[in-house]
Symmetry: C2
Subunit: 202 residues, 2 copies
């Protein structure tokens, strides 16, 4: 007998970064019946990533009543979406319903602009860091971090760091054993120290 699966809602937008999304979704997806993954966007249908390769949103974000986990990738599309109050208000609403809200790379700028990270410790992509900071002046930005956990918020550094953060989130949601099993199934060598950040610009 299974308990209710953990609902994961990933929100995509034009110009999202592929691995920001699919790294965490792969690791979470390997949990099988423990999770139920939906990909949401402002409109359901085809969404073009920052690398042109296209993905499919299953549902309009406005149609998602609530979620357990909200996952927000980054990518160059965030430069546009920071000025999209409709998307930002949907992120704010869904995050309030969620047990955990996670972002990868510049996904954290959208959480910041949605007002979700005020007073919260968070991180972001290294190459866009100063821009991200300028968009979220009330956030406690951490420059040297593979990922940052603060209460219900998990924010990862650039692109591949999302995989490491996803594993930390799986450990918190389920157990260290289930986390390690997912990493092994993905044959992924987990960078387990959230503060070990070889890409920090100091």
């Amino acid at each position: 007998m299974h308990s209710t699966p953990t609902e994961i809602t990933a929100v995509i937008f034009p110009g999202f970064e592929l691995l920001d999304l699919y790294g965490p979704l792969e690791l979470l997806g390997l949990l099988g019946d423990r999770v139920k993954i939906s990909v949401a966007a402002e409109q359901p249908g085809i969404v073009e990533s920052s690398l042109k390769v296209r993905s499919v949103a299953d549902i309009a974000i406005s149609e998602v009543a609530r979620t357990d986990i909200l996952l927000v990738p980054g990518g160059r599309g965030t430069r546009t979406e920071i000025s999209n109050p409709s998307l930002l208000s949907q992120l704010q609403r869904l995050s309030q319903s969620a047990k955990y809200t996670a972002s990868v790379c510049t996904g954290s700028v959208l959480l910041a602009k949605a007002g979700l990270l005020d007073g919260v410790k968070a991180t972001s992509n290294k190459r866009a860091f100063d821009w991200v900071v300028s968009q979220g002046p009330k956030v406690h930005w951490i420059r040297t971090a593979r990922w940052v956990e603060d209460g219900k918020f998990f924010t990862a550094s650039g692109i591949s760091a999302g995989i490491d953060m996803a594993l930390a989130l799986i450990g918190r949601l389920f157990s260290p054993e289930i986390r390690d099993e997912a990493a092994t199934r993905a044959e992924y060598i987990w960078n387990r120290e959230s503060t070990n950040d070889p890409f920090a610009v100091v």
Copy 2:
């Protein structure tokens, strides 16, 4: 002035593994104008991955005249596709046109069934290894490897190993500097030793 971009064709099918595809595509995509990425399938349109999340094929594989790099992900869909002579013959045709053919995870079983790996050193996913071997009796399968390079063939172990293989391929195609720049942009800690395989089952 740019030289002609390197054409990369990724072939997907129902039940392909997300990170097998998007890990390598992210790193290759970060090369910008140096590459041109197409996602192909038997029919263009929406293709469901092994984790249900859906992607879009830009073009029918039969419409791809040639490619520089052929990339084949694995996933549970390979269990069906090994019995799909139409797909296998297209992989054979495209691989013959390609400078390099790369697979991730059980993607190598499709290359093996297409007759491309006879006498070639190759590897695959650890959890499916014995099944893969049974499908490619003339392949020189390597059980302990993060990835294997043999002539024009690059084959990676399970799921995340495709990222490490993609970086090795970028180093071969362009230069170590361009490879390291792509890894840094993805904030990815490259597992640079192809023979260092903590997931080998011995």
